[in-house]
Amino acid sequence: MSATATAEQIASAARADAPPAIELAGVNKWFGALHVLRDVNLAVAPGERVVVCGPSGSGKSTMIRCINRLEIHQEGRIAVEGIELTDDVRALDAIRREVGMVFQSFNLFPHLTVLENCTLAPIWVRRTPKKEAEELAMELLARVKIPEQALKYPGQLSGGQQQRVAIARALCMRPKIMLFDEPTSALDPEMIKEVLDVMVELAGTGMTMMVVTHEMGFARQVADRVVFMDQGEVVEVGTPDQVFNAPKTDRLKLFLSQILRGH
C-alpha cells in the first residue's frame, strides 16, 4: 500500500513539470447578481483525477461547466491543454474536441440508436470515416459492457445502461480530459455500482478526470486530490485522506458530518 503511494507521488511529481491539463486562475462568475464562483484557483495535471464535492448550490456544476464553456465566466483565466478559453470560436472547438462530458441526466439523443449516439460526433466533428467510427464505438461499448445494446434506442435502456452509453459516447471522441457532473445522482442504488466500476476502470487508463460526486468510496479509491467547494469558493484541496480524515475548516467538517449522516 505504501509502495504504491510512493510511486503515485513520484508520478505526480513528474506530472508537475508538464503544463496543466486544466487551469483556472482567479475565475469569477455571476448569475445576475448572484456570485457563484469566487476567485477560483485550481490546476489539474495531465493524468490527474480530481473529485469535487461540496453542498448543493456551492457552484460545483458551474465550475465544471465553465471548463468547456457551457457557462461563460466573467473574470479570470481558464485554459485547457494550454489553450485559453476566450470568445475565439476556433479555440473553443479545439477544446471541446479534447474534453468529454458526462451529465447527471445522461442527455443521450433519444431519436438516435446507441451506436448512432456514439458515432455522431466522431463523424461530424472529427470527420472520421463512418466504418472506423462504428468500430471504435463498438470497442468502447464493449468496454462499458453493453455492446449488445448498440442497435437499441436510449429509451429502451435502464438508467445505469444509459449513463454507460453516455460515457462511451464521450470517449468516442478520444478526449484527453473527461468531466463528470454527478454521474450517479440520478440512478437507483443498484445501478450506481455498474457506472462507478466503469469510471474506476477509466481512471486506470490514465485519463485526466474531473468528477463532481458525493460518492466518497469512489473518491478514496481513485482520486489523486479532492476539492471541497462551498458558496462558490474552493475551501480545501488535498488528498482524499487529508480532506476526509483531517478536515481543517469548520465548513468541511460540517459538510462531512452531514454526508455521513445522510449515508
Binding site: N68, D93, R96, V99, G100, M101, L120, A121, Y153, R169
Partner: protein, 373 residues
C-alpha cells in the same frame, strides 16, 4: 375482497370481457339510458344514410338531353331537390377542374395535376428522403410550369390569367407549403437566436403577419404591392397571391415549430455543444429532428388549414377550384344546382386533406418508434 383465489399462472380473460358482443355491451348498452341513446342515435343515423342514398343514387339524374339551346335541365328541376342532378358535374367538370384554360388544351393542366400527385407520393416515401429529392422537386415543378405556360416545345402559350381550377389550388398549396415550411423553421430558430437584430426581426414578422387576416394580406398583395414597385415592373397576380400565402403560412408554422423547439430539454443542446458540434450540425442533427417530430400533429393541422385557405384567393379574382365551381353554376341552365357542385368540390378537398391526415398519423407513429420500449 376474497383471499381464496390462488394464483395459478396466466389465464384467459373471462369471455364477457372480449369480443364484439362484449364491446357493444359495455360501450353501447351498459344501462337503460345508454341503451336508449344508442337506439335513438342508431335510428337517426340510419334514417340520414337512407335519405342520402335516395338523394345521391336512387332518385339522381346522371345526364340530361341537350339541344341547340344548350342542356335541358327541366327533368332535374322537376325533382325539386328529391334527387341529385349529377348531370351538372358531367357537363361542367372540365370547367370546374381547369377553369378558363383553353378547352382543347385541358390535357396540360390535367397532366400537371397528375404530376403533382406523383410528386406527393414520391415525397411521402421515406426511403426517398435524400437530397436528390430536391432535384426531383425542381424537375417536376419545372415540368409543371412548362405544361401550364407553354410557349416552348410546340406548346401554345397560355397566359396565367386563363389558368384556373384544381391546378391553381395545387400550385398555391404546394409552393405555399414548400416555401413556408423552411421559412418557418428559419424564423423559429431566429426567434431563439442570441443575436438581438435577428430575434427582433423574426418576432416582428410573426406578430405583424399573425395580426392581420389573410384576406387583407391578399388584398394588399394584389392592390397595394404594385404601388411600391418601380414604374413598369409588374409581377403577375398569382405570384403576388402566392407570396402572401407563403408569408402568412410561414408565420403560423413558425409558431408551431417554435413550440417543438421549446419542448426540447436544455440537456440536448448542452450535450451537442459539449461534443463540439457546430450550430448548424447541432440544429440539423439533434434539435430539428426531435423538435419537428414532436409537432407533427399541429404541423399537419396547419398544413390542412392552409390547403383549404388557398380558396380565399377568389377575392382577388384568381380562379381556384372552389371559385371555378361557383362560376360553373352561374350559367342560367345550371343555376340552383349548387349542392351537387359543392359536394363534388368538397370531395376533392376531402381526398387531399384526408390523405395528408392519414399519412401524418402513419409518419408520426413511425418516427416516434424510439419512444416505445
Amino acid at each position: 375482497m376474497s383471499d381464496t383465489a390462488i394464483p395459478s399462472g396466466p389465464r384467459k380473460p373471462p369471455i364477457t370481457a372480449v369480443g364484439p358482443i362484449a364491446w357493444a355491451k359495455t360501450n353501447l348498452f351498459s344501462g337503460w339510458l345508454s341503451t336508449a341513446v344508442t337506439l335513438a342515435m342508431g335510428y337517426l343515423l340510419i334514417k340520414l344514410a337512407l335519405s342520402f342514398i335516395d338523394w345521391a343514387f336512387v332518385n339522381a339524374i346522371w345526364s340530361v338531353p341537350s339541344n341547340a339551346q344548350g342542356p335541358q335541365t327541366q327533368a332535374c328541376r322537376d325533382l325539386r331537390g328529391a334527387g341529385a342532378c349529377w348531370a351538372v358535374i358531367g357537363e361542367k367538370h372540365r370547367f370546374m377542374l381547369f377553369g378558363t384554360y383553353p378547352y382543347e388544351q385541358h390535357w396540360r393542366p390535367a397532366l400537371a395535376c397528375v404530376l403533382f400527385v406523383v410528386l406527393y407520393i414520391i415525397s411521402a416515401i421515406r426511403s426517398f428522403w435524400r437530397w436528390e429529392l430536391a432535384l426531383v422537386w425542381i424537375g417536376m415543378l419545372t415540368a409543371i410550369g412548362i405544361l401550364m405556360w407553354g410557349g416552348v416545345f410546340g406548346l401554345s402559350y397560355v397566359p396565367q390569367e386563363r389558368w384556373g381550377g384544381l391546378p391553381i389550388t395545387l400550385i398555391l398549396a404546394t409552393f405555399g407549403l414548400a416555401f413556408a415550411f423552411p421559412l418557418s423553421i428559419l424564423v423559429a430558430l431566429g426567434r431563439r437566436s442570441s443575436l438581438p437584430a435577428i430575434k427582433v426581426l423574426c418576432v416582428l414578422y410573426v406578430e405583424l403577419i399573425r395580426g392581420v387576416p389573410l384576406i387583407s394580406l391578399l388584398f394588399m398583395a394584389s392592390v397595394m404591392f404594385p404601388l411600391f414597385l418601380p414604374e413598369g415592373m409588374n409581377i403577375d397576380k398569382l405570384l403576388r397571391a402566392q407570396i402572401a400565402i407563403i408569408l402568412f403560412a410561414g408565420a403560423y408554422l413558425a409558431e408551431v415549430v417554435r413550440g417543438g423547439l421549446q419542448a426540447l430539454p436544455k440537456g440536448q443542446y448542452e450535450a451537442a455543444d459539449a461534443m463540439g458540434l457546430s450550430y448548424w450540425q447541432k440544429t440539423g442533427l439533434i434539435i430539428l429532428p426531435q423538435a419537428l417530430r414532436m409537432v407533427i400533429p399541429p404541423l399537419v393541422n396547419t398544413f390542412i388549414g392552409f390547403f383549404k385557405d388557398t380558396s380565399l384567393v377568389l377575392i382577388i379574382g384568381i380562379f381556384d377550384l372552389l371559385t371555378a365551381g361557383k362560376t360553373a353554376i352561374v350559367e342560367p341552365a345550371w343555376q340552383g344546382f349548387g349542392v351537387e357542385v359543392y359536394v363534388f368540390v368538397g370531395a376533392i378537398y376531402l381526398v387531399f386533406c384526408y390523405a395528408m391526415s392519414k399519412y401524418s398519423r402513419g409518419l408520426e407513429a413511425d418516427l416516434n418508434r424510439h419512444r416505445r420500449r
